[in-house]
């Protein structure tokens, strides 16, 4: 899975490209954990290029937000498409995350 990394100020934006499934999800988990450790949690997942997510993909998102939760934060997800939002709603995971319409507003939330 291609994961683009972009820095906006002190905030790192991770943009996974493709469906968030199985090994790709584990790849995102490892990458995000590394970014989380380096940045004290100042990172955003740009979900605009995530077509859909399977159970493992959802599990990784939950694990990341739980890890951030230890520091009083929540995983910031921006630009999630309709499919991903519906999956999160159906699985009742929506309240666990912080949603932003686009990357810029997600980055601004760190100010």
């Amino acid at each position: 899975m291609q994961i683009n990394e972009q820095r906006q100020g002190a905030v790192i934006v991770l943009k996974p490209v493709g469906p968030l499934v199985q090994k790709d999800a584990d790849q995102l988990k490892a990458r995000a954990a590394d970014v989380l450790r380096k940045s004290l949690g100042r990172f955003v997942i740009d979900a605009s290029a995530i077509a859909y997510a399977d159970s493992r993909g959802l599990e990784v998102l939950v694990e990341l937000t739980e890890e951030l939760g230890a520091g009083g934060q929540a995983l910031k997800i921006s630009a999630a498409n309709e499919t991903l939002r519906e999956v999160l709603e159906l699985t009742e995971l929506t309240p666990l995350f912080e949603y932003h319409e686009d990357v810029n507003s997600a980055v601004r939330s760190f100010l």
Partner: protein, 618 residues
Amino acid sequence: MNQIGGQPHGDALGGRSTVRRRLAGGEAAPVWAALAITFVVVGSVAVTAWLTVRGHAKAMREARAAQVENACQFVAEAASPLLAAGDLTAVRRIVIDTARANALDELRIVLGDGGVLAAADPAAISSHQLPPQLPEISLASTVTSDARTVASARAVEIPGRGRARLEASGPATMPTGAMRDAQAAAGIVGAVGLVALMLVSRVLRRRLGGMAAIRASLLAFERGERSPETLTVDESLGAEARAWNELLAGRDAERRRQRAEHAAEALGAQRAPRTELDDACDALWQGLILIDERLHTKYANGAAAVFLRAKRDEVVGAEITRFVSDERLVNAIKGVASGAIRNRLTVEVERTGDNGSGVLRFSVRPVRRDDSAAAMILIEDVTQQRVADAARNAFVAQASHELRTPLTNIRLYVEQLLDGEPTPADRAQAINVISQESRRLERIVSDMLSVAEIEAGQLRIVQDDVRLDALFADLEADYRAQAEDKNLDLRFDLPPKLPVIQGDRDKIALALHNLIGNALKYTPAGGTVRVIVADDEQNFTVDVVDTGIGISPEDAERVFDKFYRAKDRRVAELTGTGLGLALAREVIRLHGGEVTVQSELDKGSTFTLSIPIHARAA
């Protein structure tokens, strides 16, 4: 369940096949040793029994030989006077009775001519009359015996007539009770030995089967198997197997307990009794720490532990100076905790390294409530604010410079027009400069407004038909003169026919202006700038390729950040707001496209703008 050493479903890990295979290996040695010992014991008993029987048989044969000889002697002595009296009938009865009494197969009196005078078997009698004179016969008494038979011969004196020969033979041994007892005892010993052998073998195999199953389980564990269902062995294999299963169960329970504890800790729920206030504090993204007058931490929320790069359990109860090293901060904490300082102190600490870099703001203040806490520390991650402040300051400085330069030019030329008596040529030049600088001002202000729109999340595109041929014609016209002034080779490689796409013409033009303008700006005189337009079924792509100063890998990661300007000295010498590429990427992303860069320092750069084909006009 797929138990190791279990019943029918045996595979590579479980089942009897595994146990058997293991028994063929190391565990087989004790079994064979036990079997060998058992064989030796049973064999010794059997040999002893055999030797006893054999000795007894020899004694029996000797006794039998004596018995046969005595019987012969008895018959010879008894028959002698009877034969002398001619009473054959009595002699023959004695022979028959003696043969029967002594279990002789044959007992007979033979004459010198071979005739049989009396025999145990009457049919064998061939001489029915006793001759008056017997043929001469000489015979010494003999007793012979072998394993099967015993035979005896001796002379029978018949007074007045001569001698005859008494022959006797019979089985070497006679079945007796002792013999039968000895044989029975040997049989019983053999049978008991076999039964004992089977029992020992069974017990050993069962016991070693348990050990083999445990060993197979350990090997499976070494290979990475962690499932308790697979590692469990068949408990019918013995006490060891049951103990092993209990060990596995205990380990699994402990592992589950640790996981549950870890999960509870991660969710901030393990502390009991928890209150709503605890939950509220843990929901804060700011770190909150309460310390006593001895600098020991009385409370720390989850965020504080994250900021201090430690586990909360490690922080609570420990001295706070273990986790902070900045001298200003330590002094501030000591001052407030001791009561020497009664106002709030703020210290910003910059951290570097891979394990959480950034700027943390520590606000230390006394707790004046009636509690035992001496000081409260609030920790905030202000990294993004500091970066934004720095960028804003840089922008203000750069924008001031950018705005002042054209304004100064405009003011100078306006004053020149107002104060002097300019020639028509001077007037035309002044008006031209004023016009150019006005357009420059307009572009700067437009960029600033666009940045403001981006920051506010209000940047929108207006969908309309965009005639790309007209757009590129305008771009070429705009930059041709500038390229010639700088002695640059500017070339537009356009396909024969450019499409009309759906999009925001001004925004797309803005992005292209920034890319082409940057290429001209950062390419030294004599260089080349090529604008290559391609149109396939999926994307409309523009490559802006220059032979300019290039971008270092470090700067390439950040050139699209707002207000960022490369650290290259040659860039700093040129004016710019650091907004152009950020704007270009944003507006193209609003069209569903992307702007990327490939560059090599001192060689040149290639900026690629692509817009998905679905933006093509119908």
